[in-house]
Amino acid sequence: MSTAAEHLHHDEHHDHKPSGIKRWLYTTNHKDIGTLYLWFAFIMFLIGGAMAMVIRAELFQPGLQLVDPNFFNQMTTVHGLIMVFGAVMPAFTGLANWMVPLMIGAPDMALPRMNNWSFWILPFAFLILLSSLFLEGGGPNFGWTFYAPLSTTYSNDSTALFVFSVHIMGISSIMGAINVIVTIFNMRAPGMTWMKMPLFVWTWLITAFLLIAVMPVLAGAVTMVLTDKFFGTSFFDAAGGGDPVLFQHIFWFFGHPEVYIMILPAFGIISQIVPTFSRKPLFGYASMVYATASIALLSFIVWAHHMFTTGMPVAAELFFMFATMLISVPTGVKVFNWVATMWRGAITFEIPMLFSLAFIVLFTIGGFSGLMLAITPVDFQYHDTYFVVAHFHYVLVTGAVFSIMAAVYYWLPKWCGKMYDLGLAKWHFWCSLISVNVLFFPMHFVGLAGMPRRIPDYALQFADFNKWISIGGFAFGLSQLIFLALLIKACRKQGEAATDRVWEGAEGLEWEIPSPAPYHTFETPPVVK
């Protein structure tokens, strides 16, 4: 018998955790890998946040004072890349790693070794991206959307490193998504039929499909940028018969499903939390599933609403406008269902519920500004202004990031076995909630008044609003340090022991196992009735 077989035998009888650094480097355990993803995402969130602080410090006053414009551009670019690929996506993958096997009664993820590989290539990818900032000529400075010809003709040499680091991020996402999708298809406990799956699992299933479908397209886009810049091709150069607009088509064919990749798992989280603290089952479970699937399918035919001003035939502009507005229907179904779940429920306002309520209200604001942007003729005014920045920060910060925080506050007692410091958590919530609105709400006004995005200086009439935006930004940044303190305390296992169910109204397999969750769970699948 091989040594691997002996290990198997060994693990069967002991709930032993390997010790030392090797536990984390060589792990095949979904809980360890989930923890790694979540900590990595949080560290990236702080680094990307620090870059946002640089941006807001420069924009505190009109004029150029702290950083030179090239560095400012690198900050906006790398802030975006880090927050999208380093913070939000890995955080959701970490949550999927931790929770999907527990929610469907599986012993682990379907492909545990590949799971480890998907995680460990990520820190290396960001090491490359971040170190390119220190090279001669600086790092990427063309915006996270790396439009050609900014990323080809006018970019610096470090673009090659940017391209390969994005390749690795893509490989990581694809492998992570394959793992999630196969786990859900193949590892459900007996009786866990499709329409019994928790919504977090459903939304992640659909997200994983989107990831596998569009991350390779991003790989194609960066490859074309690489060959255009370094090997003399002209995909994005009219002189050779190409077209810079082609870049935008390919990028946004990836990019629009990508924004749903960052919000569908959030919908799943909110759909878990709201019923728990309303003490009612989720209203309209089936319609939630169909709405999620509809949003995912529609996401493939709306990409060009990011390009209304770049020159398309009117017929295309109209098609993309109407297709985009169609998305508000399934999204509206979701918001309606969350509100209907709370209707006449016995609601209590624990921390996860507070974040979820903030999500529902503030994400809806982001959704409405999205509808405004979807209307082609008015988008001609809003395009590339701070109104767009306000819109996507409402959906990504008060949407995706708030949902991740809600999820952490919801499941942290299950992970650590201890209730976290509720005082700190309340401070974190209220400071974040107030500061995030001081930060992003005035961006709507300066945007409508015409302040362009990605510019280190601005006209004097925007000075007052920008001062307040920056103050909100610093406050929001500092508020996250409260979260850091809370998490460190929780990891040190301080606090009261949590019960197995943790929350009075919680339903689902993850609450049937002890707190903290044992290292191996459901080695023999439970039967779901």
Binding site: A4, I171, I178, I212, T233, S234, G242, L246
Partner: protein, 293 residues
Amino acid sequence: MSEQHYEKYYVPAQSPWPFVGAVALFLIAVGAGNFVIETTKGKEGYGGWILLAGMAVLLFMLVGWFRDQIEESMSGMHSNQLGRSYRQGMSWFIFSEIMFFAAFFGALFYARMIAVPWLGGASNNAMTNEVLWPGFEAMWPLVQTPGGTTTEAMGWFGLPLANTIVLLISSVTAHFAHVALEEGKRKQLTLFLGITILLGLGFLVLQVEEYVYAYREMGLMLTSGVYGNTFFMLTGFHGLHVTLGTILLIIMFFRVLKGHFSKDNQFAFQAANWYWHFVDVVWVLLFIFVYIL
């Protein structure tokens, strides 16, 4: 499956290989990035060596990881459920590969149907043509770019057609090899698998010959405007996938010689076979859209 018959799902113990693989990809990315900068911008550096080191580590990782995997498989630790995980995982991987090619096919169609006609003044772009690219005529294959680069178009008859036939036959022989495995006919299995590998290698040789001919005789190069770009990027990435597929088949060949695989234990063989069929389908699309039309 009743409960007492539940086969335990094999969750491997700790493994160093994924981390080794992560280091390998790190070295490859750093090396490739620097190598690209150094070779195209004429700078000094170690990019190429780092890239090679990364490849070596990757090879080391693959050997180790595959060895563990094969050992586990041969000692019967894989349940049917795990087999389904592997098959589904491989199917989704192939789907992601299809989407990668879709990006380049999309670029081809966009350039051909939209970008080039617009540069020639189609739709409402008369002034684009008149003012920016006077005298440019839209055509496909684009043998004269708006910038003035000229080239020749690759025909479909001759070498490309021969290559199509080679690859199509290889897909059939790969299928025969699988049938032989199902029926337990080991000799036929070895024979058909061997033929498939030879056809794959033959395809690659012909492909190289075609590239040499394109560069030397036709002046069709990677830099020959968007026609040359799409031609070389699509056929080039396809060629890389054929190379990978051939390597997979060669590994399977040696495993067959060692007596591995049976009707019930054949995931790796099946995966390599699927991959081969996928590569074949992509080629048929290439032949139609890049060569013939």
